[in-house]
Amino acid sequence: MRSLLLSGIFCGLFAGCTRTDEYPNRPITLTCPWSPGGGTDRVSRQIAYYLEQELNVPVNVINATGGQGVTGHARGLLARPDGYTLAMMTLELNMLHWRGLTDLNWKQCEPLMSLNEDAAALFVRSDSAFTTMKQLEDAVRNRPGELKASGTASLGAWHLALAGWLLSIDRQPTDVVWIPSQGSDPSLQEMMSGGIDIVCCSVPEARSLLDTNQIRCLALMADQRLTQPGLEEYKTLKEQGCDWTLAGWRGLALPKETPVEIQKRLMTALRRIVTGKVERNGQTFPEYMDSEGFDRTWRETKNFAAFMKRSDATFGELLKRDEFQEVRSGPVGPHAFPLLAAAMGACCLVMIGFEQSKQQNTILSASGNRKPKVPVTVIQWIAFFAVPAAATAYALFVDEVGFIPAAAAILLTFALLLRASITAAILLAVIGSAMIYQVFTGLLRVPLPPGWLGW
């Protein structure tokens, strides 16, 4: 009876550890370079949702944020080309290398499909004096340097969109002061509180405020108006006399040299998804994108590559211009803040030094009781140094070895160092590693490496 129970527990612990040889046979990771809740994250999660349906394996989105997009793009494109990491790429890939932030560019991937292209747009508050682009242009000509705008970080996509518009009407990019921010949400908030005059971002990002008429869209930087219901009324820059367009794009790619069969398999799935042939819970991907106001233009492999090449060249031209070498944020240089923090730290160290010396005097004058110190044994020192060693070894070797063997080894070692009995240590190693594995991969959809055991 007891052995039956135990074997039942073991089976449960190792559930889901079977593998076939066909691709895909384990969970896929989709890297998203931007934070949860934003436009790219929403598109990533939707496409992951439909890919799960098509491929019959979990597709987990991870938000690898930071470095203005460098982190996420690097994670996705420099991953192992085994088809189990998909990268969601955005427009910023075409900008980051021109800005010297990374060597990564569009040539270092196998492009699969671009999913979306949202044009930049200019927004003002509903109670603002500007109702047409002409009024805005006049204000910029007459009072350069007075108007303030925001939408993203300095030299981010929307900043360049605004700057490009200014250049196309023969103005300097600095004629409108750009206030850097973390993204469209905080920029819209800043505009609503009266801190800035204009926000440049895409329509889906400003949707809630637009729908409730708290802001107004002055112009769309696209060739044609939007076709989604409710959004057709926004005029393009072209209609208002200016020939400048810029759109943020999002698309999926694989790391370079991923096998062709895997690329083909994913393309088949993606084709079915974007043409609305895959339904999940009564909705297709095109229907979702329409309902949220996302553009649905898609381009397959070669077209996608050609599109990225053009986009890359446009940004190269823009960013090499003299005016942009000057466009840096604000009067405070980048090293001011860390220097201030370091100075504050140094002052504190000095003050602490004073305090310590004062305290030494008072302690010496009042000889108090000291708690007897328990001596530390050799085994304890070994355990002490083994802790960071274990963490380092894990990070270095777990991809090769696999999670379960690595975790079991660590658990076993420490249990023994802390004087557990051999049976207890082995039980802990086996049950503990299996339990942690199930919790993280099963429940929380965090990918843990399979390694030697193949799980």
Binding site: P36, G37, G38, R45, V61, I62, A64, G66, G67, Q68, V70, T71, R75, R99, L101, K148, S154, L155, I179, P180, S181, Q189, M192, S193, G195, I196, R207, S208, L209, D211, Q214, R280, N281, Q283, S291, S329, P331, P334, F337, A341, A342, C348, M351, A383, F384, V387, P388, A390, A391, D399, A407, T413, A415, L418, A424, L428, G432, I436, F440, L443
Partner: protein, 514 residues
């Protein structure tokens, strides 16, 4: 009863919604109790499940998951000294000190009770005053945010255990660490030493796990800190065992409730107001509330802060739960997310054709009422579920050291990996763990480091925004709210200096008199 309310009640109490609430409460408690997993991550994971559910059930599931996750974060905070959420870092030392004295059940009971009270008051504020209060969000420009960040950071530095100088040093370290990487303000790499992975900086979750959890493992290996209580054998019938367990957990808490009404109101107000501001959330609220709580206490009580003050824990946890409901105010009324969870929620709402904004009160009142009801329901559900979680969780303290320490080590490693599936985060955790170990030897508090890492970028960003808008320093006080916050902040800076001057003067009058 109005039609909308009736519809809302029907929808919320339908079997599907109630099941969704129950399941997400359980999952929320479980996920929140694992060090390294935040409420935002849990909600993001939950979004695919909401696709199956109708709008009411989907939103109800998210609300419940968030409330339970934030409370469950207190469990590793108390039992393992690993803050489950950044806001728990404000009282992690207090909570763990109490565990070492074998008072963990009482501590978790206080934490649970005051979390629920804070959550309920926050929900009431949301219900009663959302449209009016939302307008306040629009008064906050970069000047106000700058002073608010500065205030939160200053409170953390000044209020931490030990001298203000040590607290400030800790803050300075945190701010320096936050500068690592390519910031959004300047767009160039700083302090990255040429290492690619450092271009995104050091994430605060691996830092937190490392500073507190990993360093605790190191310390524990050298000298056990946890007192292993003798296993209490449950005598007698189940009901009396249950009753004594209930008393253990809640006995102290209920008594405290009656005595602390004033403090509860202060903390909830701080929590709701700060939660209401887009981008300012539970972490700032918890620290400011902890600071105010210490300020209001008598000098003997003040000595307890940092060493096991239940009052401090109570006040901080009230504020951080109240701020959750507050974050929904700008989200519902204006369509602007109040924090990262509501950012995800707005996406889900839009997908279900619920449009946040002032019109939501006219066009979709039933779902608004459903959200209100769910907030109250989720907090009430925490009473039984939280109790069970506490009882299960506190069994951890009974597990022998040679089993629990290796498991905690593994959770530290995998928990820091799990956020971004990045091995670099494991190294970051390791580095921060060693830093935390060394700093504790010199009695430098660790809490301000975490807040510095989280808010450093924001502080710099708002500073640059303010200076870009206008070169003069006077502009920082040009708007009324900004001026008020600025004055508060500066008085926090001057406080340690003032109290030292006063004590010097007292000493000198003593010596002259004697």
């Amino acid at each position: 009863m109005s039609d909308a309310l009736q519809i809302a009640l029907q929808n919320t109490f339908s079997p599907a919604t109630l099941l969704a609430i129950f399941v997400s409460a359980t999952c929320g408690l479980f996920i929140g109790a694992i060090p390294g997993l935040t409420a935002t991550m849990a909600v993001a994971l939950m979004v695919p499940f909401t696709f199956f559910l109708d709008p009411v059930a989907g939103v109800a599931a998210i609300v419940t998951m968030e409330a339970c996750c934030i409370f469950a974060g207190d469990i590793p905070t108390t039992l393992m000294r690993i803050p489950g959420t950044p806001s728990s870092a404000a009282y992690v030392d207090d909570a763990y000190a109490l565990t070492c004295r074998n008072e963990h059940e009482k501590t978790l009971g206080v934490s649970l009770t005051f979390s629920i009270v804070g959550g309920l008051i926050g929900a009431v504020v949301l219900i009663v005053a959302a449209p009016q209060l939302a307008r306040i969000a629009f008064e906050f420009s970069s000047y106000e945010y700058f002073w608010l960040c500065a205030l939160g950071l200053s409170c953390a530095a000044v209020v931490s255990q030990g001298s203000a100088a040590r607290g400030m040093l800790s803050l300075a370290i945190g701010l320096l660490i936050s500068c690592i990487g390519i910031g959004s303000t300047h767009g160039i790499p700083r302090l990255t030493l040429g290492i690619n992975q450092l271009s995104s900086g050091i994430s605060f979750i691996p830092a937190m796990i490392g500073l507190f959890g990993f360093s605790e493992v190191l310390r524990n290996v050298l000298a056990p800190t946890l007192h292993q209580p003798a296993a209490a054998s449950p005598d007698g019938p189940f009901e009396s065992h249950l009753k004594s367990a209930w008393n253990n957990v809640f006995g102290d808490a209920f008594g405290r409730l009656k005595q602390s009404i004033g403090r509860i109101l202060t903390s909830s107000t701080i929590g709701s107001v700060i939660g209401m501001l887009p981008g300012a959330g539970a972490d700032i609220a918890a620290w400011i509330s902890y600071a105010v709580s210490k300020q209001r206490s008598t000098p003997e009580q003040q000595k307890e802060y940092g060493r096991g003050s239940l009052q401090g824990i109570a006040d901080a946890t009230t504020a951080n739960n109240a701020s959750l409901a507050g974050a929904w105010i700008p989200a519902l009324v204006l369509g602007i997310p109040g924090d990262s969870v509501t950012a995800i929620v707005i996406g889900v709402l839009l997908m279900k054709n619920v449009n946040p904004g002032p019109d939501i009160f006219e066009n979709q009142l039933p779902i608004v009422y459903s959200i209100y009801i769910t907030f109250i329901l989720a907090n009430l559900l925490l009473i039984p579920l939280g109790f069970v979680a506490i009882r299960l969780g506190s069994q951890i303290v009974r597990v022998p050291r040679h089993i629990i320490l290796p498991l905690i080590l593994m959770f530290c490693i995998v928990g820091s990996f799990a956020i971004n599936s990045s091995y670099f985060d494991v190294y970051a955790m390791l580095g921060m763990g060693l830093l935390g170990f060394v700093l504790e030897k010199y009695k430098v508090p660790l809490g301000p480091i975490v807040l510095g890492i989280i808010l450093g970028g924001r502080l710099e960003e708002t500073l640059v925004q303010c200076l870009t808008k206008s070169d003069s320093l006077a502009a920082f006080f040009s708007r009324p709210i900004a001026a008020g916050l600025g004055v508060l902040c500066i008085s926090v800076w001057l406080w340690p200096l003032a109290s030292r001057l006063m004590s010097l003067r007292n000493n000198s009058t003593d010596t002259t008199n004697s």
